[in-house]
């Protein structure tokens, strides 16, 4: 069971003067339980791609199988229970009088009992790291980061097997960003859910995804282990990605200090590596 995308192309408004090719011949295989990053500039096709995964958009050509369901011909209501998509700025979709009612909206359409709904709502709230006492507050009185977590809980409550998050941390302050990314990481580890993280921030992707796909003008420009992809600065820049400053700095240092390892992606990794090399050269810790 997995997501299998075969030679997918999508053209908006085909045959009209405003025809636009959004995806070109994309082939990807995403294994169950993976956490994969999808990056690319605005207009590179990220959102178009993920909207195919629950049949919101249909391929112009090519084929997509999600857990064996063909998104073009299969049963969409079954498909949509398996694939939860959290759109960009999902807090704009909040509408319930209370946090509880908002999160429960999808469930109440499934015809579940009241007590089952309550159990699931509380569970989803816990997963996104919010306290029970928010349940009866209006979602509009919460902070930006809290609103976003409520919106994500409204998707998680449906217990999807595949979770797509489109720019989950965009526009939040550093703390809100950390909180969201932390619980996504935890969720992935604990639940084994397949997670697709769409972002133009490689910083966010580095923290969570073991593999990454970089799109450029609707085609796959790079694909592979996050570490390997991040090591090819030139290709990344060609794909219009902005490389985290720490990666650029360590890459430059490596040219002068050949003992340094390749591909240092986080500040912590860079720190430990510099310490290691110092000790190797001098036999003592830098504090000695």
């Amino acid at each position: 069971m997995s997501i299998s995308i075969e030679e997918l192309s999508h053209i908006y408004q085909p045959g009209t003067p405003s025809e636009k090719i959004a995806l070109r011949n994309i082939t990807l295989e995403i294994k169950t339980g993976a956490c994969i990053g999808i990056a690319g500039q605005t207009g590179s096709g990220k959102s178009t791609l993920v909207q195919h995964l629950n049949g919101l958009l249909k391929p112009t050509s090519g084929r997509i199988l999600v857990n064996g369901i063909n998104v073009t011909t299969g049963n969409l209501s079954v498909l949509r229970k398996q694939v939860g998509i959290v759109f960009q700025c999902p807090e704009q979709q909040l509408f319930g009088e209370t946090v509880c009612k908002d999160i429960a909206f999808g469930l109440s359409n499934l015809g579940l009992s009241g007590s089952e709904i309550e159990i699931r709502v509380r569970e989803a709230l816990r997963v996104v790291g919010l306290e029970d006492d928010l349940l009866h507050k209006s979602p509009f009185r919460l902070s930006g980061g809290q609103k976003r977590r409520v919106a994500i809980a409204g998707i998680l409550v449906m217990r999807p097997q595949i979770l797509v998050l489109d720019e989950p941390a965009a526009g939040l302050d550093p703390q809100g960003r950390r909180d969201i990314l932390d619980f996504i990481g935890k969720l992935h580890k604990q639940s084994g859910m397949t997670i697709l993280l769409v972002s133009h921030s490689l910083d966010d992707i580095v923290r969570l995804a073991e593999r990454v796909v970089i799109l450029k003008q609707g085609a796959v420009a790079m694909e592979g282990k996050t570490r390997d992809v991040l090591n090819d600065l030139e290709a990344l820049e060609n794909a219009g990605m902005s490389v985290p400053p720490i990666t650029i700095l360590m890459n430059r240092l490596k040219k002068e200090i050949p003992e340094l390892n390749d591909c240092l992606l986080t500040v912590e990794e860079a720190r430990n590596e510099l310490k290691r090399v110092w000790k190797m050269k001098t036999g003592v810790n830098p504090s000695c």
Binding site: T42, C89, R177, S242, V267, R271, L274, N285, P286
Partner: protein, 296 residues
């Protein structure tokens, strides 16, 4: 005789409570004693976590909100002076976060013309201002484009052109780059920096992006409605304890320097210049040139 003023923004002990007139206010102040002066031509980054008062502060600066205590002067005009409110609003232009919620025209040029039209200017003047503004924002080729066909970054540039057409002396960006991709961010920032440098427009850039803030002339850090830091980026970001207490992060390279210093590396404060950072690290990683002594 009037003397040319050198300060764009002058606030004295500004306070703001959202429900100042209600007995249930609970004493919570969104702004609590903000006194700050911004000179004409400065490029200032304003940082702070959600709820720290950044946006409330920004809204004080073109009289969208009035202080419930203290005073705000824009180019010498007190914002409580209702008769001068339009002078204030044509002095200070504001751009918001969401590219989709601040564009109203059916074409780009119509949208940019909205402000000058409301100033009651002559049609030729409006036309010339719109052209110039679109040119400065690099959007002239899109004059007749319906805004919904533009990307987020292009929409923000249209919003910027709409502000420029009002010929403001000060521009406030309220997280205006937060929803843009890195390339669009860079474009908008370069544009704003150019306006600051070439036309002397004062810029207040509210942002959560530490790397962007690092490149400003000055950083003001707000927390709980108070100013907790105000200074050059290198100074502010060398105080990692304060930055973290305020719920923020250091720029990556500044953080690396701070951590290495804790580990005992012989490093000075880091600057946003990548070449300098590189040179400093190479220098300190060279045990021969360093004063570290082998102690065995």
């Amino acid at each position: 005789m009037t003397v040319a003023l050198t300060n764009m923004i002058e606030t004295v002990a500004v306070e703001f409570s959202h429900n100042a007139n209600q007995h249930m206010s609970g004493g919570l102040k969104a702004l609590d004693g903000i006194s700050v002066t911004v000179a004409k031509g400065e490029f200032v980054a304003v940082l702070g976590r959600n709820g720290s008062g950044k946006t409330t502060f920004a809204r004080m600066l073109n009289a969208l909100l009035l202080p419930t205590g203290g005073s705000v002067r824009i180019d010498g005009i007190d914002t409580v002076d209702e008769s001068r409110i339009w002078d204030i609003r044509s002095t200070v232009g504001m751009i918001f976060q969401d590219p989709d919620s601040q564009i109203i025209g059916t074409t780009v040029e119509e949208d940019v013309a909205f402000g000058p039209e409301n100033l009651g200017l002559a049609p030729e003047e409006i036309l010339s201002r719109v052209q110039k503004a679109l040119q400065s924002a690099g959007m002239l080729q899109h004059s007749r484009t319906p805004p919904h066909l533009l990307s987020g970054g292009e929409k923000q540039k249209v919003s910027l052109a709409g502000i420029l057409a009002m010929q403001p002396e000060c521009i406030i960006l309220d997280e205006a780059t937060a929803l843009l991709d890195p390339a669009a961010r860079k474009e908008v920032m370069n544009l704003v920096r150019g306006l600051n440098r070439d036309k002397g427009i004062t810029v207040l850039h509210i942002t959560h992006d530490m790397e962007e803030a690092w490149l400003a002339d000055r950083v003001i850090l707000l927390d709980a409605g108070k100013i907790v830091q105000d200074g050059k980026p290198a100074e502010v970001f060398s105080n990692s304890v304060v930055i973290k207490e305020a719920g923020l992060e250091l720029p990556q390279i500044a953080e690396l320097f701070e951590l290495l210093k804790q580990d005992g590396f012989n490093l000075l404060t880091c600057t946003p210049n990548m070449d300098e950072a590189q040179a400093a690290l190479i220098n300190c990683m060279n045990p021969v040139r360093d004063q570290h002594v082998h102690q065995h």
